[in-house]
Symmetry: C2
């Protein structure tokens, strides 16, 4: 067996254990009886440990070297699978070996404890209660970042954190993009929300039996370009999507009997994530390259289906008769104009996960700026609530009444997931660029959606984005898709159209 | 860390991987999208391989030796956990190392292929089509058995096969029991089915919407002595129960809209299996001793709840008002007498899985006798259909019209699961003995069931059977429970009462 095949086999086994962990994670959040939590945590810890041991073995390093010094071992990205696999895995392997097992275990333990404390601190709106746990998280995260002293490409303390979620993107690159977004957004949100008579009536509020919602969603997801018999959709508390293996994508959504928009747009969002994972080239199966790593690209796919497709006028026009059929009390008196305005209401709010498309990114910008200041040393954790509230006043013009509606609302920092937030906005930015590129290739996407040809958009995305998995970097993928450099302009133009609709 | 703790930690990690495999297996049969099958098979194969490598490591053997030669290392069963763990794991380890990986892999591959062929052969009722695959299975199974030449306690070619499902039970022991059962059963079945006007009307046949069946079953299972929030019940094609970890038991059942008995008794059966796994002592958690191995004992628990409890007069009397409430068309005109007779109909039939309690064991006896002759060399596989049909004539007085209704009906032989069948009847035998022992401790069980005190029976079973897990052998457990030697008498007496009821 040659070095590439041997490497692929070993990585294949590690990949299989990751698939098992993925299913355990899905099950935990959708199916598991409550009393099974303790045993589940042990099982996950063992799977993580065994995978880590198998991956960081010296033999993996030797095989990588043999592939890289073998024929075509230094081919440029996209030309040789062995070279691509070895290049990307070499970086993962080097990173994995730099972090001592004890630190990894301590981070897992500390953040797991902090997540538990967060639930109670949020209920009591008591930031002080969570503070020592956040301090421990930040301290351990600093130690984690220090493991990467001199690592190629890292020059900022936040770089190693960002790299976990957005590999090979630097802090400076993302700061430039997000500052540009802020400069466009702050005045736009002011324009959208400060004049006028407030948001229009919301037709998605009403009485929607859950079994009827779930029937509708099954129909809508079945119309998306998934291979047949390759997905399922289940209810959960915090929706997510996960691929368990080829031909097996698990989508989730959350039902609210009083609010149809919750389950509908969340299912479309998760379906976008699912389509991405389902669209990876079969050649990459059972390798680490089959699992997209850039959360920015991932989020671009979910936002694209949630916002650009499902909130579009032609999609909603096709949806309306089915809404009327199932929920006549809510939709019999609603026309397409009202439905479109209802699906695109703009309203400043305190809670990120309830924010509309236009205001959403301001929530992210605030978090990104604050965590950057935290790791640059300009902000102490104890001053975080005040800094948070100040920024909400400045960017959104809102007063934060308490920490539960402010700095305590998200679990990310309790989970030590520093570096995660900016990928949400990056996803929105990329979605805008991909939409523009798709239109320039396929023609008017509104017309395509109006004809119900979602498959052609799906094929374009698969061909330009999904199939590469992790084989190419996001930058390379976007360039090949005709998007050029990162740019906030397409997103800002799109959001301006939303604001114009609301004002019309 | 002392040798016992180190051994327990290592076995704990292997146990965690088994739990992951258990969840993957459950998911495959209840939730998995069809297109995920190929990836799932790979994941399971890797989990099995990694577990096998971890378990057969030399270091495990060294740790076992250190525990056995350490303090109390040779304590008798039940007195010292380290000694019990080391004793039982030593035998597993020795067995696992005797079978070459290639043979293990070849058996897995050959039986997986044969199972695929079996589906088609059964559809076409074409035994010849399956014959070469069965021959390969038997050949590989002979090779498997040969790996145990000179293994302590094995003296018959069938012993190593039986041992996979019924550890430490010999072929001769089980033959003695099952021959005794046959001698009582053949005349009893003749008596029950040859005179009289045939079975009574069946109130469980009718029109039963599946969501209403499923609501009823959720209520009934919730009344069984499970810890709260520790189980779930899902539909599947071939019902099973599996424990994923402490506090997490998955039950399944099969719904038939025309036949309420199908889902009802199958759910009670699987709940019996689930209660067994849920009742293992917490001290044994995350060790191989927490997983009961004797299928005979396991089946005794399922049969006990399915047949001895759920088909009993007092249970059915309590059930009747709820049946009337949910399914008035079927049960308004039915009284307790008719319900009891309907739940205990006796009818000779060709298909094992549709057989009633009285005739069921004859189906098993036929399979056991035939596979014994196969491995003793007295019967050739090609002559199996004829031998099968002859035995059905002799024991059940039935003519087998074709192989689909005869030798091809079960998947077990295609799956190379030789040695499995006799454990079904062994379970019925043990259930009878345990029932008798429980009555002598608790008093009239009918009265207890009539009062709805299922918990007291549950506690007795947990205390006498469940808690030991694999720590004690079935023989030791039965002895301590007050059952003495294996005996078919309690079962035969119970079945005689069923026959008397039908004739009355």
């Amino acid at each position: 067996m040659d070095a590439f095949e041997e490497l692929r086999d070993r990585l294949g086994e590690i990949h299989d254990l990751s698939r098992a962990a993925a299913l355990l994670g899905w099950d935990e959040r959708t199916m598991m009886p409550a009393a099974g939590a303790e045993a589940r945590a042990e099982t996950q810890a063992t799977l993580a440990k065994v995978r880590h041991e198998m991956f960081t073995a010296d033999e993996i390093g030797r095989l990588i070297d043999r592939v890289r010094t073998g024929p075509k071992g230094d081919a440029p990205p996209g030309e040789s699978l062995p070279a691509d696999l070895a290049r990307i895995v070499a970086r993962d392997w080097e990173k994995a070996r730099r972090v001592p097992s004890e630190l990894r275990a301590e981070l897992a333990r500390a953040s797991s404890i902090a997540e538990g404390v967060w639930v109670e601190a949020k209920q009591r709106s008591d930031f002080g209660m969570l503070l020592p746990y956040l301090e421990r998280n930040v301290e351990l995260t600093h130690r984690y970042a220090e493991c990467f002293d001199g690592f190629p490409g890292f020059s900022h303390a936040y770089d190693p954190l960002l790299d976990e979620y957005e590999p090979e993107m630097t802090t400076e690159q993302i700061r430039t993009v997000l500052v540009g977004l802020r400069e466009g957004l702050v005045p736009l949100v002011r324009e959208a929300t400060e004049n006028g008579a407030g948001p229009p009536p919301d037709p998605f509020r009403g009485d929607f039996p859950i079994d009827m919602q779930s029937e509708l969603l099954a129909e809508l997801v079945a119309e998306l370009p998934f291979p047949e018999g390759s997905w399922r959709l289940d209810p959960t508390e915090h929706p997510f999507a996960i691929s368990i293996g080829r031909g097996d994508v698990r989508l989730t959504t959350r039902y609210d009997e009083d609010n149809l928009a919750m389950a509908l747009f969340s299912a479309m969002h998760e379906a976008g994530h699912g389509l991405y994972e389902a669209g990876v080239d079969v050649e990459l199966r059972r390798t680490p390259l089959s699992k997209p790593r850039s959360l920015g690209l991932h989020e671009s796919q979910s936002r694209l289906w949630e916002n650009w497709v499902a909130r579009s006028r032609p999609y909603l026009e096709r949806l309306l008769p089915r809404l009327r059929e199932r929920f006549p009390d809510s939709f019999d008196g609603v026309d397409a104009d009202q439905l479109e305005r209802g699906a695109n209401r703009i309203e400043r709010s305190l809670i990120r996960i309830e924010a509309d498309e236009v205001t959403y990114n301001l929530h992210i910008l605030i978090r990104f700026e604050l965590e950057l200041e935290l790791f640059e040393g300009g902000l102490a954790l104890k001053d975080m609530p005040e800094a948070w509230n100040e920024r909400y006043r400045a960017y959104l013009g809102l007063d934060v009444p308490d920490d539960a509606h402010g700095v305590l609302q998200d679990v990310h920092w309790a989970g030590a997931a520093f570096g995660y937030f900016p990928t949400y906005s990056l996803g929105n930015v990329i979605a805008g660029q991909l939409w523009e590129a798709a239109e320039s290739d396929l023609g008017d996407l509104d017309a395509i959606i109006g004809d119900g040809h979602l498959a052609s958009l799906g094929e374009w995305l698969r061909d330009r984005v999904h199939r590469y998995g992790r084989r190419l970097s996001p930058t390379e993928i976007l360039e090949r898709a005709g998007c050029g450099e990162l740019s906030v302009e397409p997103l800002l133009q799109h959001l301006q159209r939303r604001v114009a609709l609301a004002a019309s």
